[in-house]
């Protein structure tokens, strides 16, 4: 006799209460542990405490109600109402007397949800847990906790309750591409096992619809542990085998034309950069020190192809593995142009990108961890991991210091190698080329024309505005939008860069758009006597680079109003002043700006640089992932049904050959009873069960009677006694009983029994009652 059997009913009730509390507590711990997994995504810990406060409050309500013996349905209802009330209070400034939600409350909630969605979509990880995000997490995790607790404590299906922590835990690997945090996983798994343990020890079996003594010894902690272990393994393996499954491929940032950068590694960094840029509260992207006297543009990728009427990023097509070798001579740089080496040390903070920020032109990169690919033609470095965070590397760059004479002579011819950078679409609006020729009408050399173009944008006619292109409907960098921009004369860096680059092409100057970081500003401290430059997420920038044969690619700065000083050589008086030997270089373009907020920019229309085909592909991949996730959920949902179905099928098949066909049929019958939550006790004899089934459930009497007698014969009769009914008879009786059980159940119960067959996680009666013997 096990100890539990001997306990009085009062003791059992007490223990059940304690067990329920423990189970609920374990659920809270599991959720809390899983929540820690979100730390790589969100800054600070305020959101964690807020969420746990919600979880503890909700589960406390549920546990208290259970402790008072309130029916489970009421527990669920009250907890849901509390949850709903808290949501309203959290979200609502516009409730009636703080309690009753009004119509505007609902609007507020949906508005806040949209905000949260946007905030999540727009921020780079780790995101700032702003109000909208925190509220969303508090709300959803609160709901998850309630559901998990109901599954574990209320319905005593602890294995299913793992969906809760799993859901929370899955967020981080889905959003991030990095390795899962093993410690958090182990912690959550341990808490989850505790949930299973506590839930399976609550005492009696699942609460029954009728108030009869519940099943005793009907739980199987070992089986539950087995299933749980499988679930944990899946939790760990799933993110590993589905690297493409990221939030970026799932979510949409509201702009409608996102490209899943996971699939498209190396194609368009501007997605992540765009999100960086739009942060309301900029985060430090990287810092660098340099031997150059001024700050450096750090370029990540070029948009060089405009032949389709939209600026396209240059793909790392002929990339080679980078192993510290020299990049080679920058394209177009003649040997007689004076250069000096500039050493720069870059420390990346929060930037996550497929592209390495480098000053142009770079000669060599040292101490670079990870696997990287160099595209020799564009001098860009990319990798497949997309995680630049925490990198430290030394860049040896070149400061190119052309003389005024060299500048004047440069760019007279366009070599074949850069001919692609002159490509223009056929349907280029006339206003672009006419404006360009008008602006450059006074210039003699290509260099002069370039200077005139920059001067045109910086002369005061154009105004910097993040909002105007959006409201004016020309937020993009395709040809039509550039034309509109030239009309409106309001825009931000992408518009200026795109317009100047296109106009340069109409004038026969090869051009491209560089995407990267503006030089940033000096921090208070210094390293080895040199100033430390800090670059924030909102200093993302785009600028045109123009090619002059003999010197190479030179950056220009047409965007006004950002406190970025244009390169000396690009100013109209540089040639006049003689230029040579000045500190001008095509690397150092800017002095540090004092106010980082002044550099606010937006990269949004870089998304417009995707062709419809690419967008379509992205959407297809996004939908594919969505379908894969749906499929995964479907598989998880359908798995118990499948296992149960297979088990029944196998038993029906074995009926023909099994030496104890009646017992086999009876086992299947009992399992079906469990599925339909028909009361059953291990202490019941088969006849007890038959009697009850006849009275309560109204099963076909002859069938169950025949089956029961057959089992009795098999079990208790002397070996070799006369055979009972034929196997066909047994089979047909079993089938009749099962269909009678299914037939009398309401549709909802039938589906529940099929999708969540309780027999899968309930221990069957043991062959010998060893468990009840006391030594």
């Amino acid at each position: 006799m096990s100890a539990s059997r001997r306990r009085s009913a009062a003791q059992q009730r007490r223990e059940e209460k304690t067990g329920a509390w423990k189970s609920t507590l374990a659920v809270a711990v599991a959720i809390g542990a899983a929540l820690i997994g979100l730390t790589p995504l969100l800054q600070g810990f305020g959101w964690w405490f807020a969420t746990m406060a919600m979880v503890v409050l909700l589960l406390g309500v549920a546990a208290t109600l259970r402790g008072r013996g309130v029916p489970e349905v009421t527990v669920v209802a009250v907890t849901a109402i509390v949850w709903g009330g808290l949501v309203v209070v959290l979200y609502a400034g516009s409730t009636l007397w703080f309690l009753l939600p009004t119509l505007s409350t609902l609007t507020d909630i949906s508005g806040d949800l949209a905000d949260a969605r946007l905030s999540i979509a727009q921020q780079e990880v780790p995101a700032i847990a702003d109000g909208a995000i925190t509220q969303l997490i508090v709300m959803s995790v609160g709901l998850i906790a309630v559901i998990a607790d109901e599954l574990a404590t209320g319905l005593r299906t602890p294995v299913l309750s793992g969906i809760g922590p799993l859901a929370v835990l899955a967020i981080a690997p889905l959003v991030r591409k990095t390795e899962p945090n093993v410690a958090v996983y182990v912690l959550t798994a341990a808490a989850f096992l505790a949930v299973i343990w506590c839930s399976s020890r609550i005492g009696s079996g699942p609460p029954r619809l009728k108030t009869r003594p519940t099943v005793k010894g009907g739980r199987n902690p070992a089986l539950a542990f087995g299933i749980a272990a499988g679930a944990v393994a899946t939790m760990i393996v799933l993110p590993a085998i589905t690297p493409g499954l990221t939030a970026e491929s799932l979510a949409d940032d509201g702009s409608g034309n996102r490209f899943p950068s996971v699939y498209a590694t190396g194609i368009d960094p501007t997605i992540q950069l765009g999100r960086d840029l739009r942060r309301s509260d900029p985060v430090l992207s990287l810092t660098y020190t340099t031997t150059s006297t001024e700050g450096l543009y750090l370029k990540m990728v070029n948009l060089g192809d405009f032949s389709g009427g939209t600026w396209q990023p240059e793909l790392p097509l002929n990339a080679v593995g980078y192993d510290g070798q020299d990049f080679g001579t920058p394209p177009g740089l003649a040997p007689d142009v004076p250069v000096e080496e500039v050493a720069t040390t870059v420390s990346i903070a929060s930037l996550r990108s497929d592209w390495l920020p480098l000053p142009y032109p770079t000669k060599r990169v040292d101490e670079l961890a990870g696997t990287w690919l160099l595209t020799p033609t564009s001098f860009t470095v990319t990798d497949l991991q997309g995680d630049t965070r925490g990198l430290n590397y030394q860049v040896t760059g070149l400061a190119v210091n052309p003389t005024a004479g060299q500048l004047a002579e440069a760019g007279a011819v366009v070599p074949d190698a850069v001919h692609d950078y002159l490509a223009l679409p056929d349907d280029l609006p006339a206003v672009i080329s006419s404006t360009a020729s008008e602006v450059a009408s006074g210039a003699v050399t290509n260099y002069d024309r370039a200077v005139a173009l920059q001067e045109y944008f910086r002369s005061g006619q154009f105004r910097y505005s993040l909002a105007a292109p959006v409201s004016g409907g020309y937020d993009g960098d395709n040809a039509q939008m550039i034309a509109a921009f030239l009309e409106a004369k309001e825009g931000y860096c992408v518009h200026f860069a795109a317009a100047m680059a296109v106009m340069a092409r109409t004038l026969g100057i090869p051009s491209r758009i560089a995407v990267g970081y503006a030089p940033g500003q000096t921090a208070d401290g210094t390293t080895e006597g040199r100033p430390v430059f800090e670059v924030y997420t909102d200093q993302l920038h785009a600028w045109p680079e123009l090619y002059f044969d003999g010197i190479g690619w030179l950056p220009f700065e047409p965007t006004p109003g950002l406190d970025i000083t244009p390169p000396d050589y690009s100013l109209p008086d540089y040639a006049l002043a003689g230029g040579a030997g000045s500190s001008a270089s095509n690397q150092s373009t800017s002095t540090a700006t004092a106010d980082p907020n002044a550099q606010r920019d937006d990269q949004q229309n870089a998304f417009g640089s995707l062709t419809p085909e690419q967008i379509l592909m992205g959407q297809i991949r996004g939908w594919g992932t969505f379908a894969a996730v749906l499929g995964g959920i479907f598989v998880v949902v359908i798995a118990p049904w499948t296992v149960r179905w297979a088990r029944r099928r196998s038993r029906l098949r074995r009926l023909a050959t099994d030496e104890l066909p009646g017992t086999l049929a009876w086992t299947e019958f009992e399992d079906t009873l469990d599925d339909y939550r028909v009361q059953r006790s291990a202490g019941d004899t088969m006849f007890d069960l038959e009697r009850r089934l006849r009275d309560d459930v109204e099963l076909p009497e002859p069938a169950i009677d025949r089956l029961r007698r057959q089992v009795e014969y098999e079990q208790y009769a002397p070996p070799g006694s006369a055979d009972g009914p034929t196997r066909e008879r047994i089979r047909s009786d079993l089938v009749a009983l099962i269909s009678a059980l299914e037939g009398r159940a309401p549709t909802r119960e039938r589906y529940r029994a099929r999708l969540l067959p309780a027999s899968l996680w309930r221990r069957r009666r043991t062959a010998t009652p060893t468990g009840t013997l006391v030594p």
Partner: protein, 346 residues
Amino acid sequence: MTPESTASALTGTQNAPASNAPLTLAEFDEFAGAIMANLESVIDGKTEAATLALIVLVAEGHLLVEDVPGVGKTTLAKALATSVGCSVARIQFTPDLLPSDVTGVSIYNQVDHAFEFKRGAVFANIVIADEINRASPKTQSALLECMEEGQVSLDGTTHPLDRPFIVVATQNPIEMEGTYALPEAQRDRFMARISMGYPDAAAELSMLHQRELASPLDKLTAVVDKQQLHAMIETARSVYVSRAVESYVVSIVQATRVHPEFRLGASPRGTLHLVRAAKVLAALNGREFVVPDDVNELVVPVLAHRIVATRRAASDSRGGGSQAIADALRAIVASTPVPLNRSRSV
């Protein structure tokens, strides 16, 4: 057994076939039905008590009938004795009853100049020990020794008792003054204890009509002779008990020994009696093997009187000690898993 031979059994008691060959289940059922009909004709609406009496008879146990006066204890015992064509003795236990009145006495025969054994009342197939708790412990012991040994030892001579030997003792639990309640060790020798209980209104009414003219006992005749009873006993003994059921019985009995509400659990003799009684019940149910249901049905009548409840349990229960014990036994049965082997090898 044919109807003719049944008729002969009804008329003459001694000319039945001598063989003790086991009966078929149909024959067993026929005899059992006849005895049951007899019993039920004298005590209305007490099928359970009657069945238990029959089970104890066929299982060669001893029966303790315990209840308040006037509910038919003695009637049942007499009806049982009469139904079987065996010798019947009735001892009314009184405080002055001597052991020798029960067992017998050696008397000096002055003719033969030798001691001669005068058999006591116990030398009968069925002994009705009425109000057994009224006799002195010494006399009780004499009877209980016979029950256990199946023999009387006197002056160095052993006198075996005729088989079957069944003691049906009655006891009044209410009127306890000046009585000697049976100690646990002696209660243990009874296979089962039954309580008659009051008849329900309908049964009491029909009883009134039946007994208006004569006692129904007078009309009773033997329906089974000694040989046939032997055959029934043999049949019941040959009922098969599987290992699974045996271990089921053992776990139930063992559970009584660790139950917190019991001061004393059931004895190994209780285990033995439970299995023997279950065999008879299985045969009565037309089965040649025992199923757990047979055991469950008999747990309370076979085990309850062997168990001593704790004072606390006895005082907590509304029905007193025996009610508490019966409840606890039923709880044990309900919580002991019924054996079910999923494969032959286990």
